[in-house]
Symmetry: C2
Subunit: 271 residues, 2 copies
């Protein structure tokens, strides 16, 4: 790269941090890239950090020493998250979304790249103080959420399958009881997909009694993995007994009445 | 927002463009946000655009007039894409990835957020000159790729299901013949998931004869949708007759021999 003036360096630095969150980049790398002194780059980084913090985009963490560098930790201001989620709750509180069995149609929200980025930022903010190696989710609708979160936490996503016709080599399969329907279900995960002893964050789109997530926790035990957190997009508030306790929800379905055509979604326990 | 000096404005502008690709933002919005003259902001934008183009991140398109503004069109330099894909091809050319039926284990690559971003940039670059409304994929492994592409093209993703136990309201279901196994399969898409007349990009992870993608094209016809492009991550080069013709592949599985333990993956037709 040719030698750049400050304003141009700042463009490139900003895009590098945003493109690679949670990645330690050494000052020497930048110094070489821009043919500039580390002291100048430190000043650039201070300018970027100030705006990132003011705008609630995140912060730039500087680690001193030979193995040091700078790392962008993304976040979202609580107020921005709240405003965004209130809008989503309103969009979800629509009778037209009612599906048989007390489910809500949410595929439009979970297919929207702008909303997904914001939801990913929320989960990444909520769990940024945990040492997480891997995000786990179950097919199908949890996958976009898990990946949106992963792109901010910079960790891989592992997908648990409900299907047995899976071409992923040897798998670990468990049976679990669905919390709401009490039926026995199956889920499986490829043996090679998850390293033994991983620190895992569970992400899913919807939780009723929590049977599916309890199933995933059981599966994690087969891999000697450590559960570091659970994040769900919408939890159903109508459940009498919840099978899991520690989790973060972004929204809560407080009323769903097919006969009376009533649906109400409120902010979850994250707020 | 308080009044900012140029370097700080540039940080914020850069992050706004990167966070919202393919979105027209008016100069008046920025002028108000920064309490600055539009002429100053135009200069900022020129600085950003120059670096974006030099580094192959994309370009800032300025549209004049009352309804005008600035739009970030992401891309990836062909050389960077090629280097990245050669590395991925090498990682894929491993006997340990061989799965029964001539499939390759690719979940680690499709679970890696950094690689996914790059693959998404490649597809977004390849189809940036098409008017695309919606990306369609089939569960499960195509989903992360489709969403990575969608986040650069700023369009929603619609997921075709192979499963009939789907809680998405009324669905359109079709049968199709798998091109390689010649078995009859089923796929379905929620009626409300895709608007009539949409311009659609098909994204999938793996293509053998192309039966699944041909099935998706059949499904699109049920929605009067227009096929605008097909992008696959890896195509199998061993297929005698391909059911579809116009597509872009990033990689090509040229040799897979379970008995001789040979696997070879090369660059696809995109390069």
């Amino acid at each position: 790269m040719k030698k750049l003036r400050r304003s141009a360096r700042i463009v490139d630095l900003t895009q590098q941090f945003l493109h690679q969150p949670n990645t330690l980049i050494s000052l020497s790398y930048f110094a070489e890239r821009y043919h500039s002194a580390k002291s100048s780059i430190s000043e650039d980084i201070d300018i970027i950090d100030e705006i990132f913090q003011e705008e609630g985009i995140g912060q730039l963490l500087t680690l001193a020493g030979a193995a040091g560098g700078v790392k962008f930790i993304p976040s979202i201001p609580k107020e921005e998250a709240k405003t965004e989620m209130l809008r989503i709750c309103q969009a979800l509180s629509s009778v037209e979304r009612l599906l048989p069995g007390g489910y809500l149609y949410m595929s439009d929200i979970l297919g929207n790249p702008k909303l997904l980025k914001q939801l990913g930022r929320m989960f990444a903010s909520a769990f940024s103080n945990q040492e997480i190696d891997t995000i786990i989710t179950v097919e199908t609708k949890g996958i976009p959420l898990a990946h949106a979160t992963a792109s901010y936490l910079n960790v891989p996503v592992v997908i648990v399958r409900r299907d047995s016709r899976v071409t992923e080599g040897s798998v670990v399969t468990i049976n679990y009881v669905s919390g709401s329907t009490k039926r026995i279900q199956t889920m499986s995960l490829a043996r090679r997909a998850l390293k033994e002893g991983s620190n895992v964050l569970v992400i899913d789109d919807f939780m009723k009694a929590g049977g599916t997530i309890k199933g995933m926790i059981g599966l994690l035990q087969e891999f000697n993995a450590h559960l570091k957190g659970i994040g769900v997009f919408v939890e159903s508030g109508e459940t009498e007994e919840r099978l899991i306790k520690d989790y973060i929800s972004l929204a809560r379905l407080t009323e769903v009445n097919e006969r009376e055509k009533l649906v109400n979604v409120e902010l979850g326990n994250f707020f």
